[in-house]
Amino acid sequence: MNALIKKRLLVVWLVLASITLVYLWVGSVDPASAVRPSAVVTSSAIVMALIKVRIIFREFMETRHAPVLLRRLTDGWVVLMAVCLLGSYFFGMAIR
């Protein structure tokens, strides 16, 4: 049992770390050309961050086993963040 939990935490950490390393690729900038706003980079950065946040909620903070109210609230916050961040980005770019 103990070993099983340990292994699960290790796998969770490996997943989180790999997503983090993906940022090196997503966020890399070609030094030759000027940096331009990019909806693809922005959306993927935000979505990746929120996926990581949800994994932390579920695994590290153990909402996996929590009562349904707490699960809903934490998931609700993740959704709210997605709506707010992507919404303000796309809305701001559209009205500019």
Binding site: T20, V35, T42, A49, V53, I56, L85
Partner: protein, 208 residues
């Protein structure tokens, strides 16, 4: 100093362990004080508002933000994220160990978490000095105001996190205390510092 409240009157939760029952559906439980979860959710909402303000102002002058952002080092940011992720991991291991009664291992993991927190702080201070040497301060421009504000307020949360881990260490050290609830409460706070940083990192270093 006496131990923090909640340790005394409430018995250690034994039945709340996941997988404690022989059935395949583990019992539901709230990790740590529900009160701490109220704090986490409230503070998360406050940060959401900071993030939205940042995103809106960003789209109003994207060139300025992009140019300033280019001076940040993505590698340092990724390094800091990884450090915090390791610290969260060891914090989660600490909670599991304490739940199973392996207090020695739990204590080691808590101290490891603290050490990684210090590593993060040092990296952060290094990053700030680097930027200030390059001539970018809190009031240099809008992007750097947001950058220093968000990283600064996060830094402060991390410093408070040392108090939380300090409480955990204090609880674990003596057999007379060892409130599993307080260990989980402190861990919840620490993970909050971690997930807030993950969003801040994405917004400050990567978003275009």
């Amino acid at each position: 100093m006496t131990d923090l409240a909640g340790a005394g009157p409430r018995p250690h939760r034994v039945d709340g362990k996941p997988d404690a029952k022989d059935g395949n559906k583990p019992a539901e439980f709230v990790p740590g004080q529900p009160d701490m979860w109220a704090f986490v959710l409230f503070e998360a909402l406050v940060f959401t508002s900071y993030f939205v303000v940042y995103m809106i102002f960003r789209t109003r002058s994207p060139e300025l933000y992009l140019q300033s952002q280019a001076h940040l080092s993505l590698r340092i940011g990724v390094f800091e994220t990884l450090v915090l992720l390791v610290s969260s991991w060891s914090m989660a291991r600490c909670v599991q160990a304490a739940r199973q009664g392996a207090y020695r291992s739990a204590l080691t993991n808590a101290l490891l978490t603290m050490f990684l927190g210090v590593v993060f702080l040092v990296a952060k201070v290094f990053e700030w000095t680097r930027l200030i040497r390059m001539g970018f301060g809190f009031s240099s421009n809008e992007f750097f105001s947001h950058y220093f504000f968000l990283t600064g307020i996060h830094f402060l949360h991390l410093l408070i996190g040392f108090v939380a881990v300090g409480v955990i260490v204090y609880q674990l050290r003596s057999p007379a205390r060892r409130s599993q609830e307080l260990v989980e409460t402190g861990a919840t706070y620490w993970h909050t510092v971690d997930f807030l940083w993950i969003v801040i990192f994405a917004l400050l270093y990567v978003v275009r």
